[in-house]
Structure formats: structure tokens, C-alpha cells
């Protein structure tokens, strides 16, 4: 591997802002999508659960 140490790795040859900027945004958006999906799933199950208690769809 060609990194002197973790500090070089994060400095990314002076382009840290750009490289990590883009990776951070990508990761952030993907995580956000997963979280939104999970919330949507849970709200649906909750709603169906409540509907089942009231008896009827």
C-alpha cells in the first residue's frame, strides 16, 4: 500500500476536501435513503396494526 500513514491517507495529496466531500455526500445520501425507507415501512406496519385492532382494513 502506498500510504505513509493515516495522516497522508486523510490528506489525500491535498485534495482531501474534494475526495472526502464527494464520498461523504454519497454515503450520507445512501444512509438517508435507507433511514427514510425504514421509517416508511414502520409507519405502514403501525397503521396496519392499528387498523387490525379496529377490526377491518
Amino acid at each position: 500500500m502506498n500510504w505513509g500513514g493515516w495522516s497522508d491517507f486523510f490528506a489525500m495529496g491535498g485534495y482531501a476536501l474534494y475526495v472526502w466531500g464527494s464520498y461523504a455526500v454519497t454515503l450520507g445520501l445512501m444512509v438517508m435513503e435507507i433511514v427514510l425507507l425504514a421509517l416508511r415501512g414502520r409507519s405502514i406496519h403501525g397503521e396496519l396494526g392499528r387498523a387490525r385492532k379496529r377490526g377491518g382494513p
Partner: protein, 227 residues
Amino acid sequence: MLAPWFGVLAAAFCAAGLYIGFFIAPTDHQQGEAYRIIFIHVPAAWMSMFLYLVMAFWAGVGLMFNTRLSGMMASALAPTGALFTFIALWTGSLWGKPTWGTWWVWDARLTSELILLFLYFGFMALQAAIDEPRRADRAGAVLALTGVVNIPIIYFSVRWWNTLHQGASVSLTSAPTMAATMFAGMVVMAFGFWFYSIATALARARCIILERERATDWVADYARVPK
């Protein structure tokens, strides 16, 4: 359901891709480390195009055979496709800054990505505007098919426009000389993104199915099973 399994696969492939990208691929002599953004920019661009085609395919199937499920698959894919297009644009401009000094390069591929993003938003806006789900799916299908016919036309007209006004000096197509490991990194990342989109699409499809079939009986039984 399958979604969690594809999620695990996606995580594995992405990790492998990143590992190759950061630790094995050599530093690029021209652009130094900045080129490492390519490991998400190119796969994201591939995925944005690929997902639109898959979406149009499912939409077409839904239109032809009048099956509701394929219509739902199409609307489940749209947000993920839009996400990848946005990522491709974001990473593209971040990559443009160090190498060409400007945030936005009117390059043929970046511009057609931007138009693809508008197509995605158009699709989602149309689906959101129509209340009746069946009509929303089929209207969306017609728009997706029209869009698919237009994508190659848009790409070539933008490329022709690019050469007309600016000359082909600045363009993403002249990617840095492809070392084997760089290409491998990109392909592995592409697979990672691909599994990721399957996982999100399936999960969102499940939510759409539950939301739309709320009234039918089998949904009520399904809810009784503790999730």
C-alpha cells in the same frame, strides 16, 4: 424478504471496491489523488442510466400486460435512480474543481446527466400528482418510455452541441489512462451500487404494495404476523 440480503451483498461489494480504490490503485501521475473520486462518479453515472432503462422496462411491461406489480417496481426504482444521478453530478463537479478549476463543466456527459435528473424528477412529479395509483403507474410508464427513446437523442445532441461551441478540449471522456486496478475498483463499486439499488427498490416496493393494497384482506393477515 430479500431486501436485507441484497443490502449485505451491497455493503460487501462497496467495501471491496473502496478498498481497491484507495489502497491498491496507484496515485495518478496527472491528477494526484483527486482522481479517486472516479470510483463513485463513474459507477453512479452508469447506475443512473441503467436504473432508468430498468425503470422504463418495468413500466413498459406494466403497460403492456396491465400487471400492477411491475408498475410499482418502476415507481420504486425512480427515487434511487434520481439519487444516483444527483451523486454523479455532485461528484462530477467536485472532481471538476481540482482538475479544471470550475465547479461546473458544460461537458456533454455531465449535461446529459443533468437532463436525466430532470427526467427522473418529471417522472416522480407526474406519479405524485395523479391520485389514482393505477393511472399514475400507466401515465408514468408512457413518460418513461418516451424518455428512454429520447436519452440517446439527448446525449448525441448535447455532445454535438459541445463540440460545436467549445471544441472537444475539455471532456470527461478522456479519462486518465486506465490502470487495471482502477478499472477493477470501478466495476466492483458498480456491483456494490447495483446490489444497493436492488435492496432499496425491493424495500420501497414492499412499502408501496402495503400502502396500495391496504384494503385487501391478505394485507391485513400479513400485518398480523409480527414483523
